[in-house]
C-alpha cells in the first residue's frame, strides 16, 4: 500500500509556516509500515491542487491531505478532491449538528457564519471524521479502489484526528497489524548507537528498528507486524531485551510520552530529594527545563543564576581563591558551585554549569564551547567536562541536555 501526502496552503509555500504536518504524517505512516514516496506542497489554487491530486491518484493508493478545509472561499481542498475522484457532496446531518454544538460553546463570542455550513457537506462516497478541536471535520473518500483522507491544517486538530481515527482506519486496511515500542537512550552518541545496533538493523525483518536522533538522545522504535497485541509483544520483547542488554542504564524510559526531565523529577520525588541549580553559561535554563515538569515543585524550591564571579561567591559560596587560581570556567569552580547551590538552598542535590558559550571569550587554553558541569550529591561532588562545537545558542542547549544526563547518572550511581 502506497500513500502520498499533499499539504495545501500558500503560507507553507511562502515559508511563513514550516511544514511540521508532513514530517508528523511521514513518521506515523512509517510506523504503520505504509510506503510513502512523495510529499507535495501546493498553494490555495484550484487548478494546481486538482493537477496535484490527479497525479497523486495515478501513482498512489491513498492520498492524505492537510489544510484547505476551513470555511473561507480560499478553502477548496474538499471540493477539489471530491471532484477529482468523481464523487459529489451531500449535507451530513451529524456534522451539521456538531458545528452547531461547537458554536453554542462560544455563544455571544463567535457566531456561525453562512460559510461554516459548507463544512457540513460530506462526499456521497465517504464519511466524516469528527474534529474535537475545531469546526472543520476530516473527510474520507473511497472511490474506485482509491482512498483520500482530508484533514485540517492546524497541527493540533490534525494530529488529534490522525491518532484517534486515521491510525485505526489505516491499520484496518493492512491485514497484519503493527505494534510498536519506544526505547529512549540518553548519553550515547547517534553514530555510536547506530554502530551498536548495526547487526540488529542488518538482520531485521519482523520486528524492525528505527532510530530517531534528538540532541543528546537517540530514540529507538521497535515495530512488529502481528495478528494481535500478544503476538506483537512476543516478537518485540526479545529485540527489546537485546537493546536493553546493550544500552543498560543509558535507557531512561520505554514510555513514548516521557522526557528526560520527567524521569529526573520522578527519581528525585521518589527519593524525597530536593535540588537547586547554580547556573552560569546556561543562565537559568537547567532550572527552566526541570520546572517544565508539572510536579517539579515537589523537589525544586529555588535556584541561582550566578553569572558574575561576585554572584558565584556571594550566592553559592565559591571561594575567592578558587576563582583567582582556576578561573570561573574550571573544574574547581563547577564543583564549588554545585555544592554551594545545594547548601544555600538547603537542598539534597546541587547542579552547576560554567562555560564559554561564545562567540567571544575563548582562549587557546579555554576555547569557546568548553563547559564544566558539577553535581553534588550525598557529600560527594562530581564534575564533567564538555567541549562543544556549535554557536552560542546551540552550545547552551546542549549544555542543558548534558547536565540532565549527568544528573541522572549521578542519581543512579552511574558515575
Amino acid at each position: 500500500m502506497v500513500a502520498e501526502i499533499i499539504c495545501v496552503g500558500t503560507e507553507l509555500l511562502m515559508g511563513n509556516t514550516v511544514n511540521t504536518n508532513a514530517a508528523y504524517m511521514g513518521r506515523r505512516l512509517a510506523d504503520l509500515g505504509i510506503s510513502l514516496y512523495y510529499q507535495t506542497v501546493v498553494g490555495d489554487n484550484v487548478e494546481r491542487l486538482a493537477d496535484t491530486v490527479k497525479t497523486a491518484l495515478k501513482r498512489s493508493d491513498i492520498i492524505i491531505t492537510s489544510g484547505g478545509l476551513g470555511p473561507t472561499e480560499d478553502d477548496l481542498t474538499k471540493e477539489t478532491v471530491v471532484e477529482a475522484m468523481g464523487s459529489e457532496l451531500i449535507e451530513d446531518v451529524h456534522t451539521r449538528r456538531r458545528i452547531e454544538e461547537f458554536f453554542s460553546r462560544f455563544k455571544g463570542i463567535r457566531n456561525v457564519t453562512v460559510n461554516n455550513w459548507k463544512q457540513a457537506m460530506i462526499p456521497k462516497d465517504g464519511f466524516a471524521i469528527d474534529n474535537d478541536n475545531g469546526t472543520a471535520p476530516g473527510i474520507v473518500v473511497e472511490k474506485d479502489g482509491k482512498r483520500a483522507i482530508l484533514l485540517p491544517g492546524p497541527p493540533h486538530e490534525m494530529k488529534a484526528m490522525f491518532e484517534k481515527d486515521v491510525v485505526p482506519y489505516l491499520e484496518k486496511l493492512s491485514t497484519d497489524k503493527l505494534y510498536s515500542k519506544m526505547i529512549k537512550i540518553a548519553g550515547v552518541g547517534e553514530s555510536n548507537v547506530e554502530t551498536e545496533i548495526l547487526d540488529l538493523i542488518d538482520n531485521q525483518t519482523n520486528p524492525t528498528i528505527a532510530p530517531y536522533a534528538k540532541m543528546g538522545e537517540v530514540h529507538l522504535r521497535i515495530t512488529a507486524k502481528a495478528a494481535s497485541r500478544e503476538e506483537g509483544d512476543a516478537l518485540i520483547e526479545p529485540m527489546a531485551d537485546e537493546i536493553r542488554k546493550r544500552f543498560g542504564r543509558n535507557i531512561y524510559t520505554e514510555d513514548e510520552s516521557v522526557n528526560l526531565e520527567d524521569v529526573i523529577v520522578e527519581l528525585l520525588t521518589k527519593e524525597h530529594l530536593s535540588i537547586a541549580t547554580a547556573e552560569s553559561c546556561t543562565g537559568g535554563l537547567i532550572a527552566g527545563r526541570l520546572i517544565n515538569v508539572a510536579g517539579a515543585s515537589n523537589c525544586l524550591n529555588e535556584s541561582y543564576v550566578t553569572y558574575s564571579n561576585e554572584a558565584k561567591e556571594r550566592l553559592v559560596g565559591v571561594s575567592h581563591d578558587t576563582l583567582a587560581a582556576h578561573g570561573a570556567v574550571s573544574e574547581e569552580t563547577a564543583m564549588e558551585m554545585a555544592a554551594g547551590a545545594a547548601k544555600a538552598a538547603g537542598a539534597d542535590v546541587g547542579i552547576s554549569s560554567t562555560g564559554i558559550a561564545g562567540p567571544g571569550g575563548g582562549t587557546p587554553e579555554k576555547p569557546v564551547g568548553l563547559v564544566y558541569l558539577g553535581v553534588s550529591y550525598k557529600g560527594q561532588t562530581y564534575v564533567r567536562r564538555l567541549q562543544l562545537r556549535g554557536n552560542r545558542e546551540n552550545n547552551r542547549n546542549h549544555t542543558v541536555e548534558f547536565a540532565l544526563i549527568f544528573l541522572r547518572d549521578v542519581l543512579l550511581g552511574n558515575v
Copy 2:
C-alpha cells in the same frame, strides 16, 4: 518567472527531519518576487526523482533542489537532473582543488575517499557554486531556457550558498531588482497588526508588505522593485514612515538580525543599568533568554528562581503577609518579587514572573494560564496581568516573551 522547489531525501519523507529548507527557500523566493507554485519532497530514488524533475521542468522556469549531492551512492540528484536536462558531467579542476584543500584541513582525521571525487564533476552547461562549509559544491545548470540550481541538504551549507551566490544569481535574472526593509513589532497581536495595515496591503503595488507572525511579535517586510538601491529606498521609505506612524514605539528594531533580547540588553547597557530576575512559573527562562545575548554580562550578574513561597520570602524578600493575604500568584507578590530581585542583587532593574502554568493548580478565581509580571525601575514597580490559553510549555514561553515586551515598555517609559 516561476520557480519550483524539490527536496531530496528519505529522512524528509519519513519525517525524521522537518523540512526547514523548503520554508527558508520559499521565504527567500517570495522576498525576491519570484513565484513559487509547488514544493515536492522525494526520497533517494532515481526513477521517482527523475519523474519529479521532468514534471517540474515542464511547468516552471527554475527548479531549485536541496539534498542528494553527497559522496555516497545514494546521492544522485546531480546525475539525475543533468540527465533530465540533456546535459553531461565533466570534471571541474577548480572544484577538485577545493575538495583537496578542504580535506587538507582535516589531515589525519578525515581522508578523501574515491567517492569524494564524484563531487568535482560539473555539468557542461553550467557551473559550480563554492561550498565554504562542506565538500559538496552547488551546481547551476542552464539548458534550453530552463535553469536548475542544486544545493546540498545540510541547512547551514545550503543557506550560506543561497545568500552568497543564489540570491545575486536570481536577482540578475529579473530586470528589476528587489530591495527590502524589515520592521519588527512587539506587543501588538497578529490580527491587530493585520487590521491596522489592511488598507496598505489592499492598495499595495510597489512596494509590497508581507507580515510574518512570531510568538508575541509581528515582523513586516517591505519590498520594492527598483533599478537601484536609492530608487528602492525612495519607494520603501514613505511606506516605512506610515508603518512607523501607526506602530510607534511597538517597533523595536528595523534590523533583520536583531532580536528582542538584543534590544533590551542594548538599552540596559547604554544606560549603564543592571538587571536581576525573580522567576517562579518561568523558572529561569527569562534570565536564560537575556543571557542568550553575548554582551549580557554587562548588565546581568545574578538572578533567582523562587519557585516556593519560602524562596520568595528568603531570596527576594516578599513579605509573609503578602503571600498569606494574596497568594503567590497575585499582583502584590509579582511587585514585591520584582522590587526584591533588584534589591537583593543590587541591580537597577528587577523583573518577576508568577503564574499558573498548568495543567493543574487552577481554580475558578485563578485559572490555569493566569500570570503576573512585575518590573521594578527607578523606585517604581509596574505590574501586568496575562491570561494565557496554551499548554504548560506554551504558557511559559509566552510568559517569557511578554516579560521582555513589558520590560522594554518600562525602560522606554511606555507604561
